[in-house]
């Protein structure tokens, strides 16, 4: 079996089928049993004729990161692809159109920029597409045909996959796609001499047909649906918009309600309203929208009304870099808003975890009557992964509200002070369970009072929930060196995949390095972290922000020196960078 692990990038302009070619390739590879991680990017906010890149890592072993450099670049558009050349490896393969309908202007041809060592395969994409389907629309499929022929992919298997994908489309669409693919495949097989060494298994053993191929946004949406989401209110904002678009389609099918609001304040307001009314509700946004929601986050904590906010982080403060990756909203997620406001922050580290995190978030929010922030990021939102369809959530996650018993209703105290901080909650419609809920400090019945004792007791009660939550969050993920070692890499969110990969590579080189990440950041499993850190001389915290927000959070907890790797490149964390830092520290 081939142990192939390659990164393929398809680059073109919008409308050239770049993203769909990437999707077809990813889907096929997934079906063939490969692990894939893909990432589409289109820098322009408005797609127009802008540059699109479908980036996909395909591997026999589990993929933790999308890979920083590419092995194969498929150029559907020359001038856009030129700017993608710097990430092509030195021995990288270029597939390009060597017979475009007219000459490129000087320096606008990708073939003009090749460096020694790179392996170009010129394929008459345009010509073959026209031959196959009468127009040039199928260039993307011709290119995939060339790719398949070059890298040992079975023509039949690929065609079957394409047919499944286009199953519901018109026959002419299916035929044109298949014909274009075959044209590219046959021409390449007959005319191109292969000089690179990448080769897939032509007949892999573990074919997987039923895998989901979804990005983090979709995983969040699916998790939320599985967890019984009833209302989603959203306002368009990159990179979270896709969650809204998916739920707009899917929620009504399940009897739920989706609405697009006038602003993010209204979104979280609706979520709070639905939460108050006893239904599971969620909103999704990014930094700027999350800022607008800050006041409501305090109300959720204070009035003890369940609310889930997905914050898909993007770059920079203010409007910042809407289409770039960063992990710089940790501080506002943990500490945003006024007052002592304990909130739950869940930061999944992978697309798989996005699903679980959404289930967990809705469960915790309902059970603990509090605010849960699901902190994802541009990369997770857009990173496409293949995964086995997750099993339905454990029923205990689905109905978590703790309602008062009949006796308690006789003298009902909505904000009863309890050992675990959870006060039994009635939902509207329950006779005799009426109460008054407020963002003012209040007594056990909800009546606004401001005395010292009440505020102290109530603050303590609200914080006690965290002690309780800590008991039921997933264990931190600890990998790498198991004994006493040199460097412990502590990471969070989507950087954890790169950290884990870097640690695997470092261990292969004989370094004693371990990796720690926790999906739940608040309440934080500090004891587990301390135990982990005690095994290593130095702690390294890699994260995609400038100020080291997570490092600042854990530094007071651990008794080891904390080194930082902070970057604001706008790109996902790469294992290469962490590995380099590990070697520097070593």
């Amino acid at each position: 079996m081939s142990d192939i692990d390659i990164v393929v990038e398809i680059c073109g302009s919008a409308g050239e089928g770049t993203i769909s070619a990437g999707e077809i390739l990813s889907r096929f590879m997934s079906e063939e049993g490969y692990d894939i991680m893909s990432f589409d990017s289109y820098p322009a906010e408005i797609r127009g004729f802008g540059k699109c890149v479908a980036h996909s890592r395909i591997s026999r072993t589990r993929v933790l990161t999308p890979g920083k450099y590419s092995d194969v670049l498929i150029a559907l558009n020359d001038s856009h692809s030129i700017s993608q050349l710097p990430v092509l490896k030195e021995q990288g393969v270029l597939i390009y159109d060597n017979k475009p309908p007219k000459y490129h202007d000087e320096d606008k041809s990708i073939a003009g920029w090749l460096e020694p060592g790179m392996i170009p395969y010129g394929i008459p994409l345009n010509e073959l597409a026209i031959k196959a389907a009468g127009n040039a629309r199928g260039r993307n499929m011709v290119a995939l045909g060339a790719f398949a022929a070059l890298f040992g992919i079975s023509q039949d298997a690929f065609i079957q996959s394409v047919k499944r994908r286009y199953g519901k489309k018109k026959q002419v669409v299916i035929d044109n796609n298949v014909d274009s693919f075959v044209e590219g495949f046959n021409w390449t097989r007959d005319n191109v001499r292969k000089i690179d060494f990448h080769l897939f298994d032509s007949s892999p053993s573990d074919v997987k047909r039923d895998q989901l191929i979804i990005n983090g946004n979709e995983a969040v949406a699916r998790g939320a649906l599985a967890a019984g989401l009833h209302l989603y209110a959203g306002y368009p904002i990159t990179p979270a918009t896709k969650i809204m678009e998916i739920l707009s389609k899917e929620l009504p099918k399940k009897g739920g309600v989706f609405l697009q609001t006038e602003d993010e304040i209204s979104s979280i307001g609706h979520v709070m309203g639905a939460g108050f009314a006893g239904k599971r509700a969620m909103t999704g946004t990014s930094g700027p929208g999350f800022c607008l929601m800050s006041e409501f986050t305090g109300l959720s904590v204070m009035a003890e009304v369940p609310a889930v906010i997905v914050n898909s982080q993007r770059g920079g403060p203010s409007t910042g870099l809407p289409t770039k990756h960063e992990q710089s909203d940790l501080n506002i997620a943990l500490f945003g808003g006024s007052g002592d406001s304990p909130r739950v922050v869940i930061a999944p580290t992978s697309v798989d975890q996005c699903y679980q995190a959404a289930v967990l978030a809705l469960y915790i929010a309902e059970k603990y009557q509090t605010l849960v922030i699901l902190l994802i990021d541009f990369f997770l939102s857009n990173s496409i992964k293949n995964l086995d369809p997750p099993p339905p959530p454990d029923p205990r996650y689905l109905n978590a509200n703790i309602a008062p018993g009949k006796d308690e209703l006789k003298d009902y105290k909505r904000y009863q002070i309890t050992e675990n901080g959870i006060s039994p909650r009635t939902i509207p419609g329950t006779p005799g369970g009426m109460f008054f809920s407020t963002g003012l400090e209040h007594d056990e019945r909800g009546k606004p009072v401001y005395d010292t004792k009440t505020h102290t007791l109530m603050t303590e009660k609200r914080f006690r929930k965290h002690r309780e939550i800590l008991k039921e969050i997933p264990e931190p993920r600890i990998t790498g060196w198991e004994g006493q070692g040199d460097i412990g890499v502590v990471s969070w969110g989507s950087s954890a995949g790169a950290a884990e990969e870097a640690v695997i590579l470092a261990c292969e080189k004989g370094l004693k390095v371990g990796s720690f990440s926790s999906m739940v950041l608040s309440p934080f499993p500090a004891n587990a972290l301390v135990r982990f850190c005690d095994r290593f001389k130095t702690i390294l915290v890699p994260e995609m922000n400038y100020s080291g927000q997570f490092a600042n959070m854990i530094a007071p907890i651990v008794t080891r020196p904390v080194m930082r790797l902070n970057m604001v490149t706008g790109l996902p964390m790469a294992s290469e960078d962490i590995l380099k830092k590990i070697k520097e520290i070593k």
Binding site: Y96, P100, K102, K108, S109, A111, G112, L114, P116
Partner: protein, 339 residues
């Protein structure tokens, strides 16, 4: 006033590189582009046989690494073939469908193995060794095969034969009367060569011609006019070199065997120069054109072409004592002396 000269040099051999260096030295800001159809950077072609033997590594072949071009701000376009030139519009058209405009052009494309009309019927069965990528592609085959027929007559064929013998191969050579090989005119020297080859264990056939070459399985069946009928694992041809000027034909730039230039290395277009193996240079004294071959000539000519392009009026020294005449052409023989 900002200069917007764009000097384009076609060819990344000694002539092209010396021309580029000369241009860069005197004009630090100009755009300079070298276009080469080889994917390897500037390398010593005569070390290819050592490379095949495994005695030289890739880095031993390179005259200078790719980074030097970046440092000198010379745009090196490797693996890119020129399709045609329009000297009136001052545009070159690249095979991969890109146009490049120039203000001044130096053509230094060198020469490549010649296919004689008499072998054209079976040229598909003949191997040539001229470039790095030829060598790269042929190494497995050369290592595997045992018996070789070399249609030879030029100096490269003798280097190649020596290499094969060093590798322990069985070699037969057919000294080709039509080969681009000046010494064949002098019978005594030909005799000397024949003897020296025979001494090395090479079977030498002369005064004969190939009649047919047929592929038979992995091997090739050879029949000569004089009745030789034998099978070889590989057949190579070294029948002299021919200037690489195909892409210029029809452009309006005057050509004959090579690109016709005056003794300043200028073509019939003011902004187009040629240097090295591809150039056919006028000698006013002899009232005739001469072809030059060889590394050192190329270097000298590349430098001179660049100087003249920049405004100098230097005349190329034809080095008459080394010019021989073959097939009505005068040929500078300095090439093999440098080997």
């Amino acid at each position: 006033m900002p200069k917007n000269d764009h000097y384009v040099i076609i060819g990344n051999g000694p002539a092209g590189n010396l021309a580029a260096d000369t241009l860069r030295d005197s004009d630090p800001d100009a755009r300079i582009t070298i276009v080469s159809n080889e994917s390897m950077t500037y390398y010593y072609r005569h070390k290819l046989t050592e490379f095949i033997k495994g005695k030289a590594r890739e880095e031993d072949l390179t005259v200078r690494p790719y980074s030097v071009y970046k440092d000198k701000n010379i745009r090196l376009r490797l693996g890119q073939q020129v399709d045609k030139i329009d000297p009136n519009k001052k545009i070159i058209y690249l095979k991969h469908m890109e146009t490049v405009s120039y203000t001044k052009l130096i053509i230094a494309t060198g020469a490549s193995p010649r296919a004689l009309p008499s072998v054209s019927n079976f040229s598909k069965c003949l191997n040539v060794l001229s470039t790095y990528s030829d060598a790269l592609a042929q190494i497995p085959m050369i290592n595997k095969n045992k018996t070789f027929l070399v249609l030879g007559g030029d100096i490269i064929s003798f280097k190649f034969i020596r290499m094969l013998k060093d590798m322990g191969k069985e070699v037969t050579t057919l000294l080709y009367s039509e080969a681009f090989w000046p010494f064949s005119l002098e019978a005594d020297m030909a005799q000397q060569v024949k003897k020296s080859l025979s001494d090395k264990g090479v079977t030498v056939i002369s005064d004969d011609h190939i009649k047919s070459v047929k592929k038979s399985g992995e091997a090739f069946d050879i029949v000569t006019e004089k009745g030789l009928n034998q099978s070889f694992d590989s057949v190579y041809s070294f029948l002299g070199m021919i200037p690489n000027i195909r892409f210029i034909l029809g452009s309006g730039i005057d050509t004959d065997r090579g690109i016709l230039v005056d003794d300043h290395l200028k073509t019939n277009f003011d902004d187009v120069y040629a240097a090295g193996d591809c150039a056919q240079i006028y000698n006013p004294d002899m009232k005739s054109y001469w072809l030059s071959i060889g590394w050192n000539n190329a270097k000298i000519q590349g430098t001179l072409a660049a100087q003249n392009l920049l405004g100098a009026h230097k005349v190329i020294n034809p080095a008459p004592q080394k010019i021989l005449e073959v097939e009505g052409l005068k040929i500078n023989t300095s090439w093999w002396e440098s080997f």
